[in-house]
Symmetry: D2
Subunit: 313 residues, 4 copies
């Protein structure tokens, strides 16, 4: 993969899961398990990998751990699919530094959020993306995740950034499906521009509405299911799309098995994905990054039951 | 129409727009215009009317005005389609009183939000709906509109209320499409239970996912468009569904024409619907309820241009 | 008391508690208990009563119940102290109707929130208060309670309304003590303009900063304590002010005794005030309005222990 | 200054401003100006410096810039006052690494927020602080700033951390003055435990209520004013405290001079402090970190007028 290009084509589409980060029971990055996850995903038919996203526990990884994850995935991938990497830092200059580091380590494109911890306005958000693009020259995806950054990417800013070639796409995890549809319509004329949905249980509707891809955390567990859904959409077989989505939506109930008093909202979904991958024999442990709680045996059994219902166990 | 029944079948489905409330330039309820709106909607193929919803400016109507709106619509409808009426009050006993009043005035079913101004928890929200059902015996729709009530209807509460026959459906204006899909799946086994979406620009995806109806504010302007989309979905013609939705999503841009410094978020969409109906010759003025600003001539011209693009003018 | 006057002097100051609404065990308004609450408060040295506020469970009262509460308090008060009454309705014209009704029933001034359920902007909020003032001619207090209305009274709007005589004061329950101080400084030149704090545990600081009064829910339980604090502040004895506030802040821990899974945030504080008044022999039951849970025996015992520590039992 | 001690006494109290970070017109850290700020603050009578806080634009500084700021301040301070340093990172292990780095560079204590970007619960927040304490052994202040982290430090967690010696204090920028008072009362028995307020316009009330210190961004502009207020409180001269606070509150209006459409909420206050320091001849430029807008000449003139009113120019 080469990085930035002046006229982005739709290099990026399809199923691009955010890769989870396995840990050993001692809490170290488990690179052997991570390599198996990479193979599991590519064997499942994904068309790209989103490295160091929220589902990869990126806010919890030290800089050394981020490097280890990036290099491990890059080596194992060995150019098979494009690697989109999160440059997860608070503001512009920190994002630039992190982004340049990720590209050196093998990233093909960067995924960048609005500033966080910062208290921004629309003008600053726009200046932020423009500065990152100018300093890196890389293909940029705007990652719209206000549940974490508490600053929605404004629609008019997104459209301007798209029209000016500052961003090649948006990963929409905003939950604002109205704004997402408006973005799809407003950018339909821009060749190669990508809108990805991050909401794994309503992908069918997003695809019907014209989304170009999906970044499903649940895709770590069942990449093939998402690939089938995507292929059915490409073939215009909408009943099959919906049936696959219903199956995956039922599978997604694993994310709601943990006790919400014990396990945080952040840890619940990710912990369930890890637990499922343990049950599927792909990773060794479901250990979470400090300070998140790992799922327990009761929760694991509940997840196993759902995996069996979904035909995965 | 009769009201409550012990075994609700899918009496309610399809396109059920929330009827806007026209006013004269002096600010009085304009019953003649309101009657024309009713005819316009029924002629457009709607299968029900949602009377005194947010789009009907219900929070702004005095009790006398609410009565006048309800009786005007009921008389003009004359039993042609079911009338779902909002019982828009802060908490349980006030809702009950308002609901009983609405039924006396012609409502077939009630649409009830979670308590507002109140600071509730899940247990209170559940008790609220159970008390309203017990006191009225009517078909109840839970209206999930946290942008206004600031209390999302919890999914587990909604499911229990559905299973126990307390509610016959949910009007989902929450914008939480993940929770909506989970509700659809969890209530699929309940005969006649209805899930309606309130988001007019992503109806295609909702229908693909199994939603039974739509309550589109924009349906005041183009009821026939929504009916065509619904019929195409029933026929399994998903490309036609999407094309119609894209056309309607473009039409919905009228809601974003007003100057957001002058016109509030609440007034912007409703004002644009009224302005469009003036341009279409169906109502006399686009006057809003106090203290909302009415749209001005510039905004009206911008809306006219969009109506022309959508083939309505 | 006469109602509106063209040049408001500081008619309103000191301790003006929001009167709770006792119910019988059957859930009816308990007027005998309510009369005892009125005497308890006036005997405790309050300088006014806030009738039908949030602490009076106003969102839960039917219109008939609101009338009964207002007339009961008005009759028992018999002109001893001014009565500020909440006109708790969603928007302008409903507020006007409710406000005029309250004045007919004995209110001396009205307490009016920003619109709720509605989605307003600053211009609408300003127009709202101006329209209520114009239609009623009464002394108006703006009640700034964004935790309930989800629309903070903008500071510049409050200042303009104060300067133009539209409002005679603000009851600040916003929790935004920075904005409150700015309001105090910006309105210091307006003769008779009142800023009341609604936060019962930081009244000492508010009085030091220049607040003219306090509307403490906890004042239902210990009106004399708040009166002592106010008098000490008037006398410049700030160590005594703080000591009294510390005692009252410790007493306020009754509001945090209920189980937050069972009892909502709204019901917890009010339920604890009612329970304390039962323990003090002033009202008959701690029954809450539907659908709120009433406190149980365990919670009552915890409250009794705190009352003993505070020297009230 | 030595760092951690097993039995913390009130090493930390008084006025501890968060030091702003001057930049040259080219956007580089201006160390000469920064040294003058340090002298200005210490000459003004501050009892500590909060290095790399939000007012220091810490989210916008690269790692190299953070090091340069820390070493510059540490060298210039030369042990005159304790240095509290922000370890501003998303989660636990990143905070630990940053904290250890800061101590190597001269910090005496660390200031740590709840995790951000992360989606935490109370248990994770508690585990976070315990892990940072265990790994660093340093004096920790919990920095409660939910407007930035979107996770309020829960009161019961703060109390447990205080009782167990995990934290030696809380810097409260939550704006929740009720919770702050409850924390003061609940920790009053813990020798040396510190509660600092971060809200510069209501320090008088906080001091009356027992707060041990203040971390005022505005203290960059007028450290001597805050010192006078603190000394007056220590002397029990509460009218003098309030008068000084009123003067400083009026001075704080500089933070509201910028055009809110152009300048973000984050940049407005900090930009006004920098502009004032330029006008006072202490720093060279009011340049902000990318992507924040710097204040313009009109805004500078408005600030100059306020400085003159406050007697500073």
């Amino acid at each position: 993969m080469t990085a930035a290009s002046t006229a982005p084509t739709r290099t990026y589409s399809g199923v691009i899961p955010p890769v989870i980060t396995p840990r050993t029971s001692e809490g170290e990055i488990d690179t052997a398990s991570l390599e198996r996850v990479v193979d599991h995903l590519i064997d499942g038919g994904v068309s790209g990998l989103f490295v160091l996203g929220s589902s990869g526990e990126v806010p919890y990884l030290t800089n050394d751990e981020r490097e280890l994850v990036m290099t491990t995935i890059s080596a194992r991938n060995n150019g098979r699919v494009p690697l989109l990497a999160g440059a997860s830092e608070q503001t512009t200059n920190r994002v630039i530094n992190e982004g340049l580091r990720m590209v050196e380590l093998g990233a093909d494109a960067l995924v960048v959020t609005t500033p966080f911890y910062a208290l921004s306005n629309a003008a600053e958000i726009e200046a932020h993306f423009r500065a990152v693009k100018k300093a890196t020259g890389l293909d940029l995806f705007a990652y719209d995740v206000p549940v974490r950054t508490h600053a929605k990417l404004p629609l008019d800013v997104a459209i301007r950034l798209a029209e000016d070639g500052v961003i090649v796409g948006v990963k929409d995890s905003s939950g604002d499906d109205v704004a997402c549809r408006r973005l799809l319509l407003a950018t339909a004329h821009i060749e190669g521009f990508c809108v990805f949905t991050g909401h794994e249980v309503v992908v069918d509707g997003a695809l019907l509405g014209g989304a170009h891809g999906v970044v499903p955390g649940l895709g770590n567990v069942d990449p093939a299911g998402y690939r089938r859904m995507f292929d059915a959409a490409a073939a215009g077989d909408w009943p099959a799309v919906r049936a696959e989505q219903d199956r995956l939506a039922n599978l997604f109930e694993i994310a709601f098995t943990p006790d919400s008093n014990r396990v945080s909202g952040g840890a619940s979904g990710l912990g369930s994905f890890k637990t499922a991958l343990v049950l599927l024999g792909i990773i060794e442990t479901n250990t979470m990054s400090v300070p998140m709680a790992s799922l327990n045996e009761d929760e694991s059994q509940a997840i196993a039951a759902i995996l069996r219902q979904a035909g995965l166990l």
